[in-house]
């Protein structure tokens, strides 16, 4: 079974600064996908970024980038130039390419302060 761990229940950052959210996972699979989802107060689950395990290059989406360390089973999210609209709960998630079960971490509540 896969597990996903987010060890930071809450984090805060000043507007325009950079913050990194941590995520580790445990799996015996070799091929899988990793995701960061964002859940703002509106409750909607929004995909932030996606990483395929076979790709060595870290995924980047505008101000969002990941540090994917496959051997260490680590998948952190870096948010640059933080904006007030980035305030949300962030979930790390894992799914094996052979599977259909997306497993979530416990979430990190990020607050961006003005």
């Amino acid at each position: 079974a896969q597990t996903v761990t987010q060890s930071q229940p809450e984090m805060s950052v000043q507007e325009a600064e950079t913050v990194t959210l941590s995520c580790t996972y445990d799996t015996s699979e070799n091929n899988y996908y990793l995701f960061w989802y964002k859940q703002p107060p509106s409750r909607q689950m929004i995909l932030v970024i996606r990483q395929e395990a076979y790709k060595q290059q870290n995924a980047t989406e505008n101000r969002f980038s990941v540090n994917f360390q496959k051997a260490a089973k680590s998948f952190s999210l870096k948010i640059s130039d933080s904006q007030l609209g980035d305030t949300a709960m962030y979930f790390c998630a894992f799914i094996a390419t052979s599977g259909s079960r997306l497993t979530f971490g416990e979430g990190t509540q990020l607050t961006v302060n003005p």
Binding site: Y32, Y33, F35, Q39, S42, R43, Q44, M45, L47, R50, M89, F91, I95, T97, S98, G99, S100, R101, L102, T103, F104, E106, G107, Q109
Partner: protein, 112 residues
């Protein structure tokens, strides 16, 4: 056009009642899911259907019964509601084995 839509968005009901939540997706996906998000925001999978066939059935009380009349719809019926059933229920869809799930807006169920 909403890709994954759930109804109702909010549901308040008494213990012991039976209620249903409906979900529809217009993305052409073959797999649909129900997730439960508890008061601590933890997201846990409940069920998954692929082309109308049940492929994931987590340890969920028998009072919860999913139904998929076609691959674009997945409904959740809950019998004899209990206080602990209060949560936000998310429907999602995907193409099998592609990884990315598309979520509905969630249905907040409150049992009094």
């Amino acid at each position: 056009d909403t890709a994954v839509s759930q109804t109702p968005k909010y549901l308040v009901t008494q213990m012991g009642n039976d209620k249903s939540i409906k979900c529809e997706q217009n993305l052409g996906h073959d797999t649909m899911y129900w997730y439960k998000q508890d008061s601590k925001k933890f997201l846990k999978i409940m069920f998954s259907y692929n082309n109308k066939e049940l492929i994931i059935n987590e340890t969920v009380p028998n009072r919860f019964s999913p139904k998929s009349p076609d691959k674009a719809h997945l409904n959740l019926h809950i019998n004899s509601l209990e206080l602990g059933d209060s949560a936000v229920y998310f429907c999602a869809s995907s193409l099998l084995n592609t990884g990315e799930l598309f979520f509905g807006e969630g249905s907040r169920l409150t049992v009094l």
